[in-house]
């Protein structure tokens, strides 16, 4: 085929794809990085997709592809969705950032929503959740409940998202319990149940009686249950099967309200490129049920903290806060800027150990 023909066909097809949108139901595509059955990150995005279907019925058609590797495969899947007439595409992993921008350039009439990234365009929005707000509530419960004064923390990779969570949890654990120490291990994986179980066991053996995790499987809960006397928190999804103990609460990613709102915006033609970073207030970060294993007063304090964060009255990173080396980061009453938080690469004062380089 001649090059010219290829390009003309391409242009025609793109034209077709966009004109078709007027009559048909709005088509929404989802690109997932894991399987929908991962019980964590991708599972929650898929729940939100189902919520979109529920909300709009026949007026919407959703499609998804799961376990898409970041890179050229992602770019192809997005292009294929756009060619098939998708009006709105959610790309739900940080690593899809450059592919999303590339594909968006080729399809100016298709809207893209990229999770957790920072590159935007006229037809690309970004969105993310302030999980650190939930971490503050977890830290409060953890600090109040630990008897050994040792909290174990399973990190995935040393990236700003995870470091932010550690700092937030630590600050609020220290507030209620000045003697609390954090033991942090890095698993170097988002998802490896056997390794996560090992990490939890190791932390428990070394005296931790609270396990916080920033990896996606429920394996640490099972390890904690076997050990007895240890509490845990659900990550990404509720992990309710470990209620009421060891799992005493959880941070749930609730993407549904955002996905519904953005789909509606496309339907009504009011969609604009935005940068959304929502937390407890907007309902994007939910605190799962705090079970009865938590003493009444601690539960009440935790819920109060949640409400103050939700209403915007309190910011989890409010000074005075020093960096680990003792230098001042936030002065009395000062709150952290989003820019600093997004690129956070330091521990706050009091955390022992170094961030791996």
């Amino acid at each position: 085929m001649q090059l010219k023909t290829i390009l003309t066909t391409a242009a025609m097809a793109l034209g077709l794809a966009t004109t078709a949108m007027a009559q048909d139901p709005t088509k929404v595509g989802f690109v997932y990085v894991g399987p929908v059955g991962d019980g964590g990150w991708t599972y929650e995005h898929n729940q939100a997709r189902l919520a979109v279907e529920e909300e709009f019925g026949d007026k919407v058609e959703t499609v998804f592809v799961e376990s898409v590797p970041e890179g050229p495969d992602a770019e192809r899947v997005m292009t294929q969705m756009a060619l098939d007439g998708a009006d709105l595409i959610f790309t739900t992993s940080f690593g899809y950032m450059d592919p999303t921008i590339n594909v968006a350039k080729k399809f100016p009439d298709v809207k893209f929503e990229h999770a957790t990234g920072y590159k935007r365009a006229d037809n690309v929005s970004t969105y993310g959740a302030r999980f650190y707000e939930g971490r503050a509530v977890q830290g409060h419960i953890a600090g109040s409940m630990t008897e050994s004064n040792t909290v174990g923390y399973i990190g995935s990779y040393p990236i700003p998202e995870v470091i932010r969570g550690i700092n937030s949890a630590f600050i609020h654990a220290r507030k209620v319990n000045p003697d609390v120490e954090f033991k942090i291990v890095w698993a170097y994986t988002w998802f490896d149940p056997a390794k996560e179980a090992d990490a939890a066991k190791v932390l428990i053996e070394q005296g931790a009686d609270v396990i916080l995790q920033h990896t996606d499987s429920t394996a640490p809960h099972a390890a904690a249950q076997n050990a007895g006397g240890v509490i845990t928190f659900g990550q990404a999804s509720d992990m309710a099967e470990y209620k009421p103990k060891p799992r005493v609460s959880s941070i749930i990613d609730n993407w549904a309200p955002y996905y519904i709102e953005r789909t509606r915006a496309v339907m009504e033609g009011t969609w604009e490129s935005t940068d959304t970073w929502d937390g407890i207030g907007a309902g994007m970060v939910e605190i799962g049920e705090i079970t009865d294993a938590v003493p009444e007063d601690v539960k009440a304090e935790a819920l109060a903290l949640k409400d103050r964060i939700g209403s915007g009255e309190y910011h989890p990173f409010t000074g005075p806060i020093n960096k680990q080396d003792g230098s001042e980061w936030l002065a009395e009453g000062e709150t952290a800027e989003d820019g600093t938080l997004l690129g956070m690469d330091f521990y706050v004062e009091g955390i022992t150990g170094k961030i791996p380089q």
Binding site: M1, L3, I6, L7, T9, A10, A13, G29, P35, V36, V63, F64, V65, E66, S67, V68, P69, E70, G71, P72, D73, E75, R76, V77, T79, Q80, M81, L83, D84, F94, G95, D98, N102, Y118, Y157, P158, I159, P160, Y188, L342, G343, M344, D345, P356, Q357
Partner: protein, 360 residues
């Protein structure tokens, strides 16, 4: 009873017939699977095999076949040389990663210098990186007689850890707001392995894959080295009498495979993928082993096998999104295809014959 009887010569008819029968058998078995999952089997099969090639949007998918197939073919060609001589490099995935790291490393070191020589240097670095990584099992085998299957496989895991370390540390994009992953080479013109003609999918990696196919064909059929490789695989003792130095052959086969895998990684990181990231490798090195065998270790066969596998990947993605098939079903379907191809291939070298028990 029914017995297999070795043919004196591989059957020319069956060489061409077996892939066809295998694909048809897979379609039949796949139909059952898809029907079982509540999807229209005819539509599913058409989506996987037909749509990428001839549907309305084939203008996009056909070039993508080249993008997806090129690394598979490039790596498989290198592996096939060793496999023919009984040298088992199953660590191409590691060599692919290292090639990407060294290639990208050179590119990133020159950033933002705008010069014509950056890309050629990256190509050389990528090939050298893969070559060097493959030299580890090669030298250990030659010097100590260690098993190259294991050493090359072990080095895959070492390479994966290096990749994670590089994406989080040394090669991390200084403007990437602390996120893992390097600068995107697609935005650095001197280092970008761009499409040579827009819309065709043709990038330097595809060109390299075609060159590798032709070179391997000539080497195996026209060159004394190719003869030595084939001889060593068929009759190692005879090969020694014919003057083959086994050590040299090991170094050559593993080195070539490593260099080609390194090239594939480098072209991928500088082109379609664009950046070094923790999950950069997606299993091309392992899939290429299957491609090599499906292609019966023959250069042209490998080319066809690579294209077939790329087709099922791309068709599989379309089927997932259009029909809502789970990714697992596609994986299972690919597994079936491979099983049938491997199983029916027996007819090339053997025929079925009725025999009485005692005669055997």
């Amino acid at each position: 009873m029914l017995k297999l009887e070795k043919r004196p010569q591989p059957s020319q008819l069956w060489i061409y017939l077996t892939p066809l029968i295998a694909v048809l058998a897979t379609m039949a078995a796949g139909s059952v699977l898809f029907a079982f999952l509540g999807k229209d089997p005819v539509v599913a099969i058409r989506t996987i095999f037909w749509d990428p090639l001839f549907s309305e949007f084939a203008f996009y998918y056909r070039p993508q076949l080249l993008v997806k197939g090129a690394p598979l073919v490039l790596i498989a060609i290198g592996l096939s040389l060793g496999f023919r001589a009984g040298i088992w490099n199953i660590g191409a995935e590691g060599q692919y990663i290292i090639g990407a790291l060294t290639g990208a490393g050179v590119g990133l070191a020159f950033y933002p210098l705008d010069a014509w020589f950056v890309f050629p240097l990256m190509v050389i670095a990528g090939a050298l990186g893969g070559w060097a990584w493959a030299m580890i099992p090669a030298l250990l085998k030659v010097r100590f007689g260690t098993n190259e299957i294991l050493v090359s496989l072990m080095l895959v895991y070492v390479a994966e850890q290096l990749l994670a370390s590089m994406s989080l540390g040394l090669m991390k994009n200084p403007e990437g707001r602390g996120f893992p992953g390097s600068r995107n080479l697609q935005h650095y013109e001197s280092a970008h392995n761009a499409e040579l003609i827009t819309g065709t999918g043709m990038h330097w990696g595809v060109v390299a894959a075609f060159i590798a196919v032709i070179t391997a064909y000539v080497l195996l059929n026209r060159h004394i080295l190719g003869y030595h490789i084939r001889l060593t695989g068929q009759a190692p003792r005879a090969a020694r009498f014919a003057g083959v130095v086994p050590a040299r052959l090991v170094l050559f086969c593993l080195g070539t495979a490593g260099a080609l895998a390194g090239l594939a990684g480098m072209f991928e990181v500088a082109g379609p993928a664009g950046q070094v990231s923790i999950d950069f490798n997606v299993g091309y090195g392992f899939t290429a082993i299957i491609v090599a065998f499906l292609g019966r270790l023959h250069p042209v066969g490998i080319l066809l096998a690579g294209a077939l596998l790329a087709l099922t990947y791309i068709g599989g993605e379309i089927a997932q999104s259009q029909l809502g098939l789970p990714a697992a079903a596609i994986q299972l379907f690919q597994g079936m295809l491979l099983f049938f191809l491997l199983a029916i291939d027996v007819m090339t070298n053997y025929r079925l014959a009725w025999q009485r028990r005692e005669v055997a």
